[in-house]
């Protein structure tokens, strides 16, 4: 007969590192790159729904991600703010794209011009701007939650990579209404 001994709660060696990095980002948000933190107000109770989109979640058990997020909020904004969070979601960029949380993409628009950056330079610039390489695709995934973020990312890329061209694309969610059918 199988034996099922009691199991220890899951833990993750990088937990404190992630809490500290996320707390720093909550305290002083970067304009470009990851993590992308999207907070939404639940208007009934003024609670906070927060999505933390971050490739650093890769390898971190899903069941720990919410704890890490609320710990980071508490560390930065205090216990009272933590209590206001009714849903904390930690997902990687590819997971967020699949969920439709990052509808805007910034992509290279390479031209047949005599002087232009190489494919590798484009790629490096995208990663520098926070693109995800988790999918292993030829081009990293550079996505944003809002059009404003996408425009800021586009400006940033044009600044750091001379003679480069970028376009913003919006992915239209094919999903139906919230009822699911």
């Amino acid at each position: 007969m199988p034996r099922h001994p009691p199991t220890e709660p899951t833990d993750y060696a990088e937990r404190e590192t992630l809490v500290a990095a996320l707390a720093k980002e909550i305290q002083t948000p970067s304009h470009i790159g990851q993590p992308i933190i999207v907070e939404k107000l639940a208007t009934g109770t003024q609670s906070i729904i927060t999505d933390v989109i971050w490739d650093q979640w890769e390898g971190c058990p899903r069941e720990l991600r919410a704890d890490i997020i609320v710990d980071a909020y508490e560390k930065t904004l205090g216990a009272e703010y933590r209590e206001k969070i009714s849903l904390a979601l930690g997902v990687t960029v590819p997971e967020a794209v699949a969920m439709g949380l990052l509808p805007y993409g910034v992509r290279p628009a390479r031209r047949l011009a005599p002087v232009q950056p190489s494919e590798e330079e484009y790629r490096r610039a995208m990663v520098d701007a926070g693109a995800s390489t988790l999918s292993g695709a030829r081009w990293p995934i550079l996505r944003c939650a809002t059009l404003e973020d996408a425009e800021a990312t586009q400006d940033y890329l044009q600044q750091i990579l001379a003679d480069s061209n970028w376009i913003i694309v919006q992915e239209v969610d094919p999903g139906d209404a919230a009822s699911g059918q």
């Binding site: 208007t43 999505d51 979601l89 139906d176 699911g180």
Partner: protein
């Protein structure tokens, strides 16, 4: 003249829409069941439960009654379920998954049900309905037994009675 049935209805839902629709569909289901159309009644009662439990989820998160609920919100629920190791293979109609999600997330928020064994009752009623209901029933010619209609009616009634306690 009021709007025709589908005109003026936006793509998004809300707690208010879910609860209001659940009440209407429940009344219609009773009419159908009373006139010998048990299959159609079960079909509607399944949605009554689904809408009631979804409304409870978003109320737990603190959504306002008229706050828009979109597809992204539903996907968040499913992703959250995954973090609780709730296996949710299908679409957003899985009543058992919604029930488990509510219970687990209440524990996370340190707001468990105060009534003894309420969580068990929630799981039992959601399972009882989901054992007899799928949204694709509309494509099938199956006809339920009277005892099936009765049990789905009872459980849908339980959900409506406790819609604010879920």
């Amino acid at each position: 003249m009021p709007d025709l049935l589908v005109l003026g209805i936006g793509p998004d839902d809300s707690i208010d829409q879910f609860r209001g629709a659940a009440g209407f569909r429940n009344a219609e289901a009773w009419l159908l069941a009373g006139s010998g159309h048990g299959g159609a009644a079960v079909y509607l009662w399944g949605y009554v439960v689904e809408m009631t439990i979804k409304a409870a989820w978003f109320a737990l998160l603190g959504y306002g009654d008229d706050q828009s609920i979109g597809l992204g919100d539903l996907r968040r629920a499913k992703e959250k379920a995954l973090s609780y190791k709730i296996v949710w293979p299908g679409n957003f109609h899985d009543l058992n998954c919604w029930a488990q999600l509510l219970i687990r997330h209440r524990t996370f928020l340190k707001r468990p049900y105060t009534v003894y064994h309420f969580d068990r009752a929630l799981l039992a009623h959601s399972q009882r309905v989901y054992n007899r209901w799928r949204e694709w029933l509309r494509y099938k010619k199956n006809v339920p037994y009277p005892f099936e209609v009765q049990s789905v009616a009872e459980s849908a009634g339980w959900f409506l009675k406790h819609s604010r306690d879920l």
